[in-house]
């Protein structure tokens, strides 16, 4: 899976789970500050990402995922 594909799937998840407009999602955006995804929605995003990408994202890791790129990097490494 390319980074572009991961980005596109993440945008879909963010839209479904947190109501974020998919067009707003780019790799440099911060979940909290730019996309207004609060810490509880982040948990839901992480759970959906685990299902979609077949990876495990432990609770301790979640707070390190500040930007969309952080999430992409984690998923690439975990796959």
């Amino acid at each position: 899976m390319t980074e572009e594909q991961i980005l596109s799937e993440l945008a879909e998840i963010l839209n479904e789970v947190a109501g974020v407009e998919a067009s707003k999602v780019s790799a440099d955006k911060s979940f909290l500050d730019d996309l207004e995804v609060d810490s509880l929605s982040m948990v839901e995003v992480v759970m959906a990402a685990e299902d979609k990408f077949g990876v495990k994202i432990p609770d301790e890791e979640v707070k390190n995922l500040r930007t969309v790129q952080d999430a992409i990097n984690f998923i690439v490494k975990a796959k």
Partner: protein, 333 residues
Amino acid sequence: MTQIKAPFRPNGTKVAGVGGYRPKRVVTNDEVAPLIDSSDQWIRERSGIIHRRFAGPDETVAEMAKLATLKALEFANIEPEKVDLLILATATNPAQLPNLAMEVTHKIGATHAGAYDLGAACSGFSYGVAAASEAILAGDAEVAVIVGSERMSDFVSQYDRGTAFLFGDGAGAFVITSDEEFKIAPPVWGADGSMAEAICMTKSWTDFQAETASEFPSLKMEGQRVFRWAITEMVQVAHAALAKAGIQVADLGAFVPHQANQRITDHIAKSLNLPEHVAIAKDGIQMGNTTAATIPLALETLMENNEVKSGDLALIMGFGAGLSYSGQVIAIP
């Protein structure tokens, strides 16, 4: 050989009365927000909470428990002297001992009652419903009271961004008596001690004593970790509780989860696919998280708003610090 006499054991038990006590002082988000660099909007989005109540100096854990208990006894039309067991579920007794349950029985004139406190935090009320029901089924008691009462404001730091806005004070009680039928289902309960640090105190009393200049212990919580546990594990608990009662989701009249956070309630309700006719308790929006008191207070509100009727089945379930959980189906009086 001499046999021990077997007590009379009824066929079943029921909730005969419900009563709550809400402290006088209403505390809005606007009052709480500045101390945690937050806003009314942020608090509402994060938790659904609009306001909560903080107990005043006269509204002690025992006093609030007494008032909730008297209200529930009035509902049940039972004299306080008839109570022979009172269980007080609380996490906020400000002293190691004595338990507060007997202060309540003393205040209400229940001179024949056994009394003890039950410590299971947010699961305490449901564990207590089971304990009270079982006492009656065993023939140990005829009129039992389970009352949850909390002064969370004594132990939550106003400056902790993760917890300051969530918790409130209050008390709620059920009166439980025998019945020809089974109107309180067996509980589903459990605990995960590996997650004890997800909701705990910043330090123990002995640590506090050992430190020369130290901040008072307060509640701390790993919000994201607890949220994830609640929205996944508690769905299974709900299904198990329904199965133990031998009913389906569609048979419910009400879903009354511990009012930890409206977003948790919404998530679990969605995962359970609750049909539209099932009333969903949301009293936490007005009261905050009152730990062991949330369930009876939330049920009382549904009843007062006529969102449920007598005889409807309600799934009550508590979950929280421990981490622990307990839930069961009851018939609404």
